[in-house]
């Protein structure tokens, strides 16, 4: 079921199994039939850990979404609330319980807090007079969720906002805890590198927690050689750029959520022979995207311009395989052919799906609007006219293009110019408020706080230096047969990944100057290993680094890291962890303020 998690360098299925075990144990604690009331946000992340079948095996008969009022009728012994520790959710739960008919119901109530229980929430339940109604109040520690064979995500959407806007370090605490769990399963990570304020805090917490458990440290041979903690605000530029890998574009255009994407149904209509496809499906087509699907694993990280060729090559291989049947003469040959059929049919349907998706994306990437937008992005990244008001942005505002698109572009210009001149910034802001409404005042404010928009101070624009030293722009990016990570953005090499690459070789000492220009401290810590656990490396054996992006990572950055893992002489393999998978749109959205009642 989750075999793809065990194919990578590090078997992440261990983590998933540990999480499943804990879930089963909790469910068994509540003996008898049960109904789960879900905090809707959690269903996605939980889907990565356990399907409904697991719940069903443990007598979960009904599932509801948490909402005010009376609980739907269910003939079960236990009602279990799966919730994040948030006060507003406590009020809903309290409402559920007080509306329950006390005399007729002998149902047991339980709460499972994910990822941690909270005194504040329990206090709230007490104030509402329902705390005593719960038989079990427990926590389900779900920090790092295995997302794919080389990818872990906390699926913690608000992490960036909390850290950089609200100065709330809760997500960092969970991160540190998650890394401790990981070390308990995969051994102590001997070396920790980091860049950024949050990275420093997480490392401090980890070292402190290690002291807490000192002595009880596990005797597992370390799987990871090093950990790199990177703050998202060290590299604000990358997520703003439009991702140009296949997976990145799917995310940019349709949005990948907890590993699933919803696509327009028209292209996926089942065409049965002899039957006119009169009624087109109206429900969006939902597809799971991960490395379990062979073809997807092959093309996800390619630049979109190389996907077409890959698909047609695959098509030829598959049809050739089907042609084989004509050559099958003997019973044995036919039998062998038939035994391969299911696999071939799966490959064919996977091919059909991805051809459809590629067609959908192509319609967009070949449009003029897409091209114009990309041109402006690339101008900014190469430092062309970043200090003036950009006419393309002006036009987009005039045409009332989606606000997030505008904010992405303006932020990008600001980042690539190390801030905008007062006049320019004010002009953009005024245009935005006048076109999209005054209520976006607070959003602009937030972007300034996060450093995405900023007025230029007297200091020099240091972006060109950073760009040149780190080789962020590569003129001759090869999209078909890449030789550098810059292929993921057709020219732009993501800053975060350059830092990772340089750390591996030749080391950060070579770029001290640039590191000082980027926000936050950079550091290195060593964790003592118990004697006897020092790895004896085989000749030619690769080292494994866990790269943790605090505040989110894009699919294109992941593609770039996978590319580095595959480069023959890199000597390094990467496993990626993050608070949340993001793209420019979801990221900017998380920073927007929406007053409860919109004006107009």
């Amino acid at each position: 079921m989750a075999a793809h998690l065990s194919y990578g360098r590090v078997n992440l299925n261990i983590l998933r199994e540990a999480a499943r075990k804990e879930l089963r144990e909790f469910l068994d604690k509540c003996a008898g039939s049960k109904a789960i009331v879900w905090d809707e946000y959690l269903t996605g992340p939980f889907g990565l850990i356990a399907q409904y079948s697991l719940l069903k095996e443990h007598e979960v008969e009904k599932m509801f979404t948490l909402k005010s009022g009376r609980l739907p009728p269910a003939d079960v012994k236990n009602i279990i609330f799966f919730v994040r520790p948030r006060l507003e959710l406590m009020d809903i739960i309290a409402d559920n319980i007080t509306s329950e008919d006390r005399h007729h119901s002998s149902r047991d109530f339980h709460i499972l807090f994910v990822p941690r229980r909270s005194m504040l929430c329990e206090q709230r339940l007490k104030e509402q007079g329902v705390l005593g109604s719960f038989i079990n109040i427990d926590e389900y520690i779900l920090d790092l969720i295995p997302y794919d064979g080389d990818l872990l995500s906390m699926e913690y959407e608000s992490a960036f906002r909390e850290c950089y806007l609200e100065n709330d370090q809760t997500s960092l605490y969970h991160t540190a805890k998650g890394l401790m769990t990981l070390q308990a399963l995969y051994g102590t990570i001997p070396q920790i590198y980091g860049k950024g304020d949050c990275a420093r805090l997480v490392a401090n917490m980890m070292l402190r927690m290690k002291r807490e458990f000192a002595g009880s440290q596990n005797q597992i041979l370390p799987v990871f050689d090093s950990l790199l903690l990177l703050d998202r605000n060290v590299d604000l530029l990358t997520p703003l750029a439009t991702q140009l890998t296949y997976e990145g574009l799917i995310d940019e255009i349709y949005g990948i959520n907890n590993g699933y994407v919803k696509l327009p149904p028209e292209k996926f209509a089942q065409k049965k022979q002899g039957e006119a496809s009169k009624d087109l499906p109206t429900e969006p087509k939902k597809l799971q995207l991960n490395s379990a699907e062979e073809l997807y694993a092959e093309i996800r990280d390619k630049n979109f311009n190389a996907v077409g060729a890959a698909l047609s090559k695959k098509a030829k291989i598959i049809s050739a395989a089907f042609e084989e049947r004509h050559n099958a003469k003997t019973v044995g040959e036919i039998k062998q052919f038939v035994s391969q059929l299911p696999h071939m049919q799966a490959a064919r349907s996977s091919l059909a799906n991805h051809t459809s998706i590629a067609e959908l994306i192509k319609d967009i990437t070949t449009s003029e609007a897409f091209f114009d937008n990309l041109t402006v992005e690339q101008e900014f990244m190469t430092g062309v006219d970043t200090d003036k008001v950009n006419t393309y942005i002006e036009d987009c505002i005039a045409q009332k293009d989606p606000l997030i698109k505008i904010l992405r572009l303006v932020s990008m210009q600001s980042v690539c110019n190390n801030g905008l001149k007062h006049k320019v910034l004010d002009y953009y802001k005024r245009e935005i408020l006048q076109t999209y409404g005054y209520e976006h005042m607070l959003t602009l404010n937030n972007l300034e706080k996060a450093g995405l928009l900023k007025p230029q101070t007297s200091s020099r624009n240091n972006y060109p230096t950073i760009r040149k030293t780190l080789k962020l722009w590569m003129e001759d990016a090869n999209e078909q047969n890449p030789n550098d990570i810059s292929y993921v953005y057709s020219g732009y090499a993501p800053l975060s990944i350059r830092l990772t690459q340089i750390l591996a070789r030749p080391g950060w000492r070579s770029i001290e100057e640039v590191l000082k220009m980027l926000p936050g401290p950079h550091f290195e810590e060593r964790q003592q290993l118990p004697s006897g656990l020092h790895k004896k490396r085989q000749q030619g054996e690769n080292r494994t680094t866990l790269v943790f992006f605090l505040g989110g990572v894009t699919y294109a950055e992941i593609a770039a890291l996978r590319f580095l893992s595959q480069v023959e002489d890199s000597g390094m393999e990467y496993v990626i962890a993050t608070t949340k998978l993001i793209n420019g749109t979801t990221w900017i959205k998380s920073l927007m303020d929406r007053p409860e009642c919109q004006a107009q």
Partner: protein
């Protein structure tokens, strides 16, 4: 010399032997006959209460002895019903009125609590039990009501429901099942399970009907097995969930045993030991019994281990060794034999026997090529230590509890020798040592802090918080703070509650922030401080901790908007204050209110020198005022929307009378053409006509057009409007000849003028 194996008696597949651990060194005047006795688990100390004397004036004394009978302490007590020990060697005295007194191992009083919220009646009987939750107490009162506390360190009294009893329960036990603590009790022939909510009659499966009433019961230490003894001498043994019987034996004893113990030795089958005045009986699941009043069974074992032992003995004296060895080897059981010998040595109390067994094992080992020595070595080590501890001068059959008796150096040496990981061994000992050290009243704070610091240092897993808590308990607040300030404590979170208790709020807050655990620490501390301090001090305290302050702000954003404003005000954070007003303005429905809030925002933006925001906000205010003016003039806006909605819904429900009333209720802000059109849409020309007359002159033609052409033509001609006439003409078809002519004529005259 007899076979050593001979003194072990078989019981099914298991073997038992009876050993006197210590020759008790105590001298008791009256024997144990009428005293209350409580022995602590794992070979801990033994507690005695002297029998009641006739004279009520003299209070009985309690005496504590080590397992070998060395007196440890003695002190007077009240009317005790039951005595027991907690898991950490604290003494519990349960008195008749339900008061429970807690003493430490050395007889000094620690604290007390009551098992009855209101003293209702005398405690008849009490039991101390141990579970994963800690040490618990159960009592039954004179009115036959049971009350439970599952953990005396976190006292929650649970009064169990009433039981339909005929007099006093004949016997009862506490059991823990499915994380619930229940009482199993018998009353005459009946057996009940009593839990939080109900009392259920149960029946042990397979108990012979002629067995009679249950008069004694015993639960195994893990609550897995249960033994029941009936007045006819039947002994039933089975699982405590009463689902399955393991065995039933007729002991032919009709007197109630003085003691009955049900247990399952390591990796063996469960068994029950019963004690009468002069008889000790061991019963296993195989329905066998062993009686220890006399030695009956003396069977030499032929297990490989036993053979190996004999082989070795022969090797030392004669040549028969070879014979024994060959026999073992033929069964290719030598490995097993060595293992058995080592294991047996581990279970043996007599040092000489241990030696012979280990020698035999080492002898057998020589004939094996690939036998791992680990087990052998560990056992050797353990035995050496155990023997040292069992020495009657120390009087302890087991290791861990050493620390409770304050034999620290020995304990540490043992831990090191046994290679117990630090966090389980040395650190624990050090913690106890330090906790004891801080209670030494004759030493100065400084000296103690230094001593603790030197000895404990940053040993992993030693909780300075616990040590400090001890110091605070003994009234040494200053010392406690000194200890907290040493930056050795890794779990900053754990220091917080104590620091709060000691009213060191600043320190508590900074430790809480350090831990990073936002909820458990920061919110806990912040909410605590909020209630404890006046507002000004509270804000000042927060100000020094930016992280705590931001968390509190987040909390206020959700819960207490007004406080949020105060917070910004105090910090002179004009930018945020302005943003606060902007946010608030969106919640305000009335225009005046909204404008006022925006004006406040402008003032604050001004103070923050944010010119752009000032201007943008002023523009917004101007825009709002302008919109309002437009609304007033055109009468559109919300009111219009309301009329539209009402009109449509009434028409759709075909409530025509209501609609007419509504149309007359006020002058319609949306005019009356809308009424006409909506009626037509609902296919009601008749109703539509009612509103035509009310339509403004400019809309007359349009309104008529919706109903009939003729009316429209009349209206258009009357208004002499060329374009309107044109519009009507456009709608005419060939059959409307007359109408077309009329209109054309009217048009011609109109244009002429």
């Amino acid at each position: 010399m007899a076979f050593i194996t001979a003194s072990w008696n078989p019981l099914g597949e298991a073997f038992y032997s009876k050993t006197e651990l210590y020759e008790m060194s105590w001298t008791l005047r009256d024997g144990l006959r009428d005293s209350l006795v409580a022995a602590a688990p794992y070979g801990g100390p033994i507690l005695l209460r002297e029998p009641h004397r006739r004279s009520p004036s003299s209070r009985p004394r309690l005496e504590i002895y080590s397992a070998s009978g060395v007196a440890i302490a003695s002190f007077p007590s009240g009317p005790v019903v039951h005595l027991g020990w907690t898991v950490c060697d604290e003494l519990l005295c349960i008195q008749e009125d339900g008061t429970v007194l807690i003493y430490d191992l050395f007889g000094s009083f620690k604290r007390h609590f009551s098992m009855q919220e209101v003293v209702q009646s005398q405690v008849l009987e009490a039991k101390v039990f141990h579970s994963p939750y800690g040490t618990g107490i159960a009592i039954v009162t004179g009115s036959f009501r049971f009350t439970l506390a599952t953990n005396i360190d976190d006292l929650k009294l649970r009064r169990l429901p009433e039981v339909p009893l005929q007099g006093k329960p004949s016997c009862w036990v506490v059991l823990t099942q499915d994380r619930q603590t229940k009482v199993l009790l018998s009353n005459g022939p009946e057996l009940f399970i009593l839990d939080n909510t109900s009392c259920t009659a149960v029946c042990p499966p397979g108990l012979s009907p002629q067995a009679g009433s249950i008069v004694h019961m015993s639960m195994s230490f893990t609550y897995k097995y249960l033994a029941l003894f009936t007045d006819t001498g039947h002994l039933w043994m089975g699982f405590s969930n009463l689902q399955e019987k393991l065995s039933e034996v007729h002991t032919k004893k009709t007197t109630i045993p003085k003691q009955m113990v049900c247990r399952r030795p390591k990796s063996q089958q469960p068994s029950v030991a019963l004690m009468w005045d002069r008889l000790l009986l061991v019963v296993g699941v195989c329905n066998d019994t062993i009686q220890y009043c006399q030695d009956i069974f003396k069977i030499a074992s032929m297990a490989p281990g036993a053979l190996l032992l004999e082989a070795h003995r022969e090797y030392e004296s004669s040549q028969k060794a070879d014979e024994y060895l060959r026999e073992i080897k033929e069964q290719s059981m030598l490995g097993e034999a060595v293992r058995q010998c080592v294991e047996a040595a581990g279970h043996e109390y007599d040092t000489n026997t241990q030696k012979s067994l280990m020698r035999a094992a080492s002898f057998g080992k020589c004939f094996l090529t690939d036998f791992s020595p680990d087990h052998f070595v560990t056992t050797c080590r353990e035995l050496r230590v155990l023997n040292a501890v069992r020495d009657s001068a120390v009087g302890l059959p087991l290791t861990h509890t050493l620390v409770y008796r304050q034999f620290y150096p020995l304990a540490i040496e043992i831990c090191r020798y046994l290679k117990i990981p630090d966090y389980q061994g040395v650190s624990r000992v050090l913690k106890h040592w330090a906790s004891c050290k801080v209670q030494q009243k004759d030493l100065a704070d400084e000296a103690i802090a230094r001593a603790v610091c030197v000895k404990v240092g940053d040993s992993p897993g030693v909780s300075y918080s616990d040590i400090a808590a001890k110091a605070y308990e003994c009234g040494r607040t200053e010392l406690a703070i000194k200890l907290q300030l040493l930056d050795f404590e890794a779990r900053s979170g754990e220091q917080v509650p104590l620091l709060l208790k000691m009213k060191r709020s600043q320190l508590a807050l900074s430790k809480a922030v350090e831990s990073g655990d936002t909820d458990l620490s920061v919110y806990t501390v912040v909410t605590y401080l909020k209630n404890e301090m006046n507002r000004g001090d509270f804000f000042m305290t927060l100000r020094n901790q930016p992280v705590a302050l931001s968390l509190y702000r987040q909390f206020c954003k959700l819960q207490e908007q007004e406080t949020l404003k105060d917070l910004y005000n105090q910090d002179d954070d004009h930018q945020e204050l302005a943003n606060y007003y902007v946010t608030a303005s969106y919640r305000e429905k009335r225009l005046e209110g909204r404008l006022a809030l925006l004006q406040s925002a402008v003032d604050e933006y001004n103070k923050a020198k944010n010119e752009f925001a000032v201007k943008a906000t002023e523009d917004e205010m101007r825009l709002l005022r302008f919109q309002r003016k437009l609304d007033d003039e055109k009468g559109a806006g919300l009111l219009g929307l309301y009329w539209w909605l009402k009109l449509k819904s009434l028409a759709e429900k075909e409530e025509w009378e209501e609609l007419e009333k509504f149309s007359k209720s006020k002058k319609s802000p949306i005019g009356y053409l809308a009424f006409v059109e909506v009626c037509i849409k609902c296919n009601n020309k008749y109703e539509a006509k009612k509103y035509v007359s009310k339509v403004t002159p400019e809309q007359k033609v349009k309104a008529h057009l919706a109903i009939d052409l003729e009316g429209a033509a009349d209206a258009a001609i009357e208004r002499r409007n060329d374009s309107e006439m044109g519009a009507v003409l456009f709608r005419c078809s060939a059959s409307d000849r007359l109408l077309i002519d009329r209109l054309n004529r009217a048009r011609a005259t109109a244009t002429k003028k």
